[in-house]
Point group: C2
């Protein structure tokens, strides 16, 4: 159930959880919108997006089904919003983690640890994205594909500044970036399968992730067109 939001105008006296302040109309609306997103994410903890009904989400957010349409014109639209919510912060963080470091080793370690922290902080978001990535046609999977391509491009751009890679054709650079992104996503999937609290398994997964990346990057100096 998580943080069931109170949206009903009848009950908002109890909204004193937050200092509240002057609740403007649009602020109120945005709050319910967020409640819908949160409720959806909650329900998605152990289910697929396709099996999620508009009614369930509405109920989880504390509003009546038909009021859902005041915020999203369809479940699909909500799904896309959820994707965006997931990737918004991560992209910047990873970018930062890479540019702070110099040399493969530091960059690998920093990226893996940043990813790890972020995944653990937003498990439900990542569970949702890894599940829906290949879930078939539909706006959600398409939105995820777009975000992934952006990650890949970001990475390719940063990679181009390393010495042996400076002369690579962009095509090969993107190939390498895709390889890395895919490996990282595999790591995310592994992390999400670890049962909560098993920090030893976490550690093992991170070590494996670093190894995988090192394995990939080891071939770089010996590559030719």
């Amino acid at each position: 159930m998580g943080h069931a939001a109170i949206a009903s105008t009848l009950l908002d006296v109890s909204a004193a959880e937050e200092p509240a302040g002057p609740v403007s109309r649009q602020e109120r609306k945005q709050r319910t919108r967020q409640a819908l997103l949160d409720a959806a994410l909650d329900l998605l903890a152990d289910r697929s997006f396709a099996s999620l009904s508009l009614r369930e989400v509405a109920k989880g957010a504390g509003i009546v089904p038909t009021a859902f349409y005041r915020h999203f014109s369809s479940m699909e639209e909500l799904g896309v919003a959820l994707v965006e919510e997931t990737t918004r912060t991560l992209r910047g963080m990873l970018r930062g983690a890479r540019t702070e470091q110099r040399g493969y080793g530091g960059m690998i370690r920093a990226s893996v640890h940043t990813l790890h922290r972020h995944v653990r902080e937003h498990e439900d978001h990542f569970r949702f994205v890894t599940r829906e990535r290949y879930a078939g046609p539909g706006a959600v999977s398409r939105a995820i594909a777009v975000e992934m391509r952006m990650f890949s491009s970001d990475l390719a751009l940063d990679l181009a500044r390393f010495d042996p890679l400076r002369t690579w054709p962009t095509e090969d650079l993107h190939l390498l970036a895709d390889l890395i992104v895919t490996a990282m996503l595999g790591t995310v999937a592994e992390l999400l399968e670890i049962r909560p609290g098993d920090t030893a398994a976490d550690e093992r997964t991170l070590v494996a992730a670093e190894k995988r990346l090192r394995m990939i990057l080891l071939g770089v100096p010996h590559w030719q067109p």
Copy 2:
């Protein structure tokens, strides 16, 4: 609709598609079972397994909903059967493709082409598996995970016979095998996104796949614990 099977006892006169012969009872049953699997796969061409209803599948196979239970105790069980149907042949084929060749180059080319042919011959099966792989908890995803681990183990075993890899710890060997399997699965996903008939795109994807594998294997001689 594809190959809608005729299971109704009233209509089986038209079952003269096949020479038919003496239709024993269990043979008949198995035929309807297959019709259910085919119908499900047909419907899964552009939908997720979770959104597939028992009634739809039954209708697609030409039987009444309640008769479904004569063959599977739940949709989940049908899903698992579908997974098994997908991987049954492929595993042996890939294994053969690898052992025929010697040297990385030949092995890579052979594996990629075997995979390509097989994917194109059974697109619906692979679409199903790639979609459901991370589709959440549930027997189907678990069954897929098991099959993937088997692929990986098969590969690790074969890899161990190459010279530089002979001395690797099994742990690292499995790491490498996972990396390769994951990359291959990415290729499958790409292949399935190509619109039918675009053979040029097919070719490009295969070249990229080979490059990816070469990139991974390039680092092998320089690896240390």
